[in-house]
Symmetry: D2
Subunit: 276 residues, 4 copies
Amino acid sequence: MELKEKAFKSVSRKAHPEDTVIDIGGGVKFGGGNFTVIAGPCSVESEEQIVGIAKSVKKSGARALRGGAFKPRSSPYAFQGLKALGMDYLLEAKRETGLPIVTEILNIAHLSLFRDVDVIQVGARNMQNFELLKELGKTDKPILLKRGLANTLQELMMSAEYIMSEGNARVILCERGIRTFEGVTRNTLDLSCIPIIKEATHLPVIVDPSHSTGIARLVAPMSYASMAAGADGLIIEVHNDPENALCDGDQSILPAEFDFITQKLKMMAGLFDKKL
Amino acid sequence: MELKEKAFKSVSRKAHPEDTVIDIGGGVKFGGGNFTVIAGPCSVESEEQIVGIAKSVKKSGARALRGGAFKPRSSPYAFQGLKALGMDYLLEAKRETGLPIVTEILNIAHLSLFRDVDVIQVGARNMQNFELLKELGKTDKPILLKRGLANTLQELMMSAEYIMSEGNARVILCERGIRTFEGVTRNTLDLSCIPIIKEATHLPVIVDPSHSTGIARLVAPMSYASMAAGADGLIIEVHNDPENALCDGDQSILPAEFDFITQKLKMMAGLFDKKL
Amino acid sequence: MELKEKAFKSVSRKAHPEDTVIDIGGGVKFGGGNFTVIAGPCSVESEEQIVGIAKSVKKSGARALRGGAFKPRSSPYAFQGLKALGMDYLLEAKRETGLPIVTEILNIAHLSLFRDVDVIQVGARNMQNFELLKELGKTDKPILLKRGLANTLQELMMSAEYIMSEGNARVILCERGIRTFEGVTRNTLDLSCIPIIKEATHLPVIVDPSHSTGIARLVAPMSYASMAAGADGLIIEVHNDPENALCDGDQSILPAEFDFITQKLKMMAGLFDKKL
Amino acid sequence: MELKEKAFKSVSRKAHPEDTVIDIGGGVKFGGGNFTVIAGPCSVESEEQIVGIAKSVKKSGARALRGGAFKPRSSPYAFQGLKALGMDYLLEAKRETGLPIVTEILNIAHLSLFRDVDVIQVGARNMQNFELLKELGKTDKPILLKRGLANTLQELMMSAEYIMSEGNARVILCERGIRTFEGVTRNTLDLSCIPIIKEATHLPVIVDPSHSTGIARLVAPMSYASMAAGADGLIIEVHNDPENALCDGDQSILPAEFDFITQKLKMMAGLFDKKL
């Protein structure tokens, strides 16, 4: 089954044959031959935690810091994030390290809290929250749009189209696994989608090896495989103390392992024409 | 794999052994042995259309009118609904027929437009839009919560828990098909979820045979099968002119076929201890 | 996505507009308005067990006896069936009750053991074992062909075509659940496939509510839903002592529950134009 | 969900901590740090075709030749392979190039035709044809066991256990994509299974980037990603004239592209501690 490319007006590579390069500030770019790694904890837990991890991942080569202040959780009784306080801590980490900040929005009403955020993330569960997408399309912030667990590539690109149709052309796509019958991994990472997306659109596409697999020891091989498949970067969960993480500890790697991974990615980069 | 029932505080049948009966006004109830049929077009297209269909489906036994004023569409370039005007037409249909109105909300900012709506629908794509669920939990409106295309029953019930945890106990669940490899039907209707939900929770659960299959001629058999599986009702797309419908014409049935279906459901009802 | 009906030469209803009625002996027929129930244990465990269950299910209205002598098990270390001895016990049950026998073949080399069997079952795992299908196509036995866990309806009908293309026109199709992300049920029973199959082919199609759900207390509602969806019959696991069954006890119902189900199916039959 | 490793007696890495190295003859080995590439057409079409492709892929670095003589096809009316004649042509290609032969068995009755074959392939559709697996377990041939389209990793390893439990310890596993809702690729290649399999078992595991994606231009990136994910090799479809191939032309690459891929894999090999 072919993609219906005629449905993509702004997203299509036919409309824009060159790679879109998205500059998120601080000299950090996505697309155009860059391989850009975002790292950080699932959720911001304290100022000390986020600043400490930020310093560590920066040293290893991360170019942006992730961390959730607003957390979408299946249960209303689970930890929902530090919210505004978490945003303050993230911005403190940015001040101390210079790393641009990537964090998730759940509600357009929170937009004013994202003024100093560098990339606004739309999570998998909101990939077809079209009202949110349209509002984000009116901002001037780069948007990291994650593929929903049951969404086709066609739908992922149509959701990017929602953002672009409102005027915001800075969309970074992210593959993070789809739901299948296989239960050993949390989701099934669909790496063959990477060359398809790169062919069909001019937007950068990155991979989340942490949420897709849900298993820390798969992060390294899936990171290498993502570069080999043609991805433009990664978003990796790194935690200083995964066993006591407030969420998703099972999939978080330690700073030392993150360092090992980035060193190996640097060795691979030349072979895959990537700047890292 | 068993449901993790401990995670359900308010939703669990253990917390509330009796069926919850939800009175949506006009003497129309869901749960407690009622089999309640909602019918109407995918989207409101004109006053004449919606009033005409409302009169027709009422005559056949529908107890509530559905119709989309705000439409979530994969493409930003597809018809997005008549919005506020569509709401006016729906309310006109309510005035003329007395049928309670069921219509979908996409954005909590639109809530004021739903003042005279009887049941607010949360579509499959928003099943894990937790911010929306929390806000709806603060209203006093019955909520029709549709299962997401890739969501487990555990997650469906946790989303109901989000609404109930904010104080709104009037949640109607809806099975509308899940995404699988089988492409002949639009989705795969998961009828075996019905007895599982009825066992695990006290909330009513209905079935959408139109969106789940995407094929008009499957609506009749899947409606009968839904009652036989133990559902508390149906939500069916009926259109006076499916071939020219502005959306989802392929799955809409004509008023005459709807009449045939409700007659047969009435004949079945006694066998399944349902009031229709 | 439409079925590619041109690919079906013998299976297609276009080739043969009337329902095929398959007489398996003893006056028992599938198709043509009959609703035919096969019942029995997952596997034959002893002569006493199979004869006892046969007598009981016959009294309740079962028209054929199922029971596995050769069992396909995921593990080589699990019980593999009583094999030839199991066949002897099945035939003894047939002698004592007159019920035709339905049992699974795993290897064409065992065919001589199936001489007195009335229906040869091809299990889900062998649905695309084309070599087996071709050989069975050369026999004069009715074949019960179960849908594979990841097979499309198109493929199910093509597998029936393999049997028919060799000359054996007596194929009964069976839906028994497909693999999806939902893990509360063992598989997801795809009841919307029933009207599609009935439309596309002239062959009878039955449902297995036991293997599809894997949960005994879902067998009753899914049996009723199957008739309502238009199926031509059922194959149900019944065991006198499910807790000590050598396989699949979780999904086996007791004879008393089977009796309750068949009574209710008889009450439904008139409404659905079925003879039971 | 963890693998149930206790179920694996012979397959488990706990039973055999070292990698199993499988020597298929001609100095060609799988496992133990080797990265071994099998290449060739989907089906053997003529002596000239198979000998020509064999010479070409050997020059590019393929270590074994694939080619189907017996073809499992969804339709009984599709080309079923050249059968015994195809075997002759394969053996001629072996004589002329020295490349070991990998070809699929559909029926144990054909075993005598496989006397001079070096690796017997069990296709995805037969992964749970336990009778075939048991018979192959009694031979002394290396077995290439492909994962079924809806089979879990647990089941794949249990099927290897079937072969090993009969005495044949030379099993090579192969990931070739699973069935999901995403239809742009033929199947979804599950690369995160590779590190899981390598951890749980001592057997080599290779990847089929051709059948999994069904798209020729995805073969290169998925080949690189497979090595990066930790696979022990690849099986790639190469055809001299894909547009006129008797089967699966859409996924076959030309010899020149195969040469490009193997050159790049050689450049990657050092980074991933592989001998190629």
